[in-house]
Amino acid sequence: MAGRIKIRAQKKGEMTEVKALMRHPMETGMRKDQAGESIPAHFITDVAVLHGDQTVMQAHWGAAVSANPFLGVRFQGGQAGDAVRVVWTDNQGGTGEGETTIR
């Protein structure tokens, strides 16, 4: 179930706009569960957006990015039908990946 990403990539004039939602709890490690036990930190640390084989953007995140993170970026160029990919890794070694085509 982990690792899901929903991506939209849309041509906007010269630019391509990418919007991605990632399925992740983004736990800070500072919350406690119902029983009072600490919930371990679990958050995405690294994210990248790729257009074809080109990295458009790479990011490092802390636990302060909201649960089920949203990311929007824009890059120059890109043609309808090109592949856009978003990948992430988290602090527990988990990974996620999603792909779409520009429309």
Partner: protein, 158 residues
């Protein structure tokens, strides 16, 4: 990337990253110069400390266009947008987002490839009312903008 950070890269994290890039994604290596994570800045527990860890005190600049809500419906999800007027701040390579009142103010760092617009949208947690900062690195120098977001108690206020 400032000098003090380079030596502090978590090896494990870097390896994870490289492993992900080479296996899960299987892309040509040239696309992936794995960028080091600024661990000192992420670990900072006060805004000043976090800004200092970025290398230099950023200068306020109107070219950094930072959009945040004046009032957030919930501090767990505060939408933000960072843009840059590239006619006055060219060659932006990084964007940092910081939240003054969080236990660790640095929330995110974005490495921008050339050809990528400086246009970033995301959603961050904001512990309580205070300032949010967007810091950008343009031609090796740091510039910033800040905005206050009020975090309100919701619903029945309990």
């Amino acid at each position: 990337m400032n000098k003090t950070e380079k030596g502090r890269v978590s090896r494990r994290r870097l390896l994870n990253w490289v492993a992900l890039l080479s296996t899960a994604v299987a892309l040509p290596a040239r696309a992936w110069a794995a960028v080091t994570r600024p661990d000192t800045a992420f670990g900072a527990t006060a805004l000043d400390q976090a800004l200092m860890a970025l290398g230099e005190t950023p200068t306020r600049h109107e070219g950094v266009i930072f959009t945040t809500p004046d009032i957030a419906e919930n501090g767990a999800v505060v939408p933000i947008r960072v843009e840059v007027d590239q006619t006055v701040l060219p060659n932006v390579s990084k964007v940092y987002v910081l939240v003054e009142m969080n236990p660790n103010p640095l929330a995110a760092v974005f490495d921008i490839a050339s050809g990528t617009e400086v246009y970033i949208e995301t959603r961050v947690k904001v512990a309580q009312t205070g300032d949010l900062y967007a810091v950008v690195e343009s031609d090796g120098q740091l510039f910033m903008a800040s905005r206050e977001t009020k975090v309100t108690l919701g619903g029945c206020g309990g």
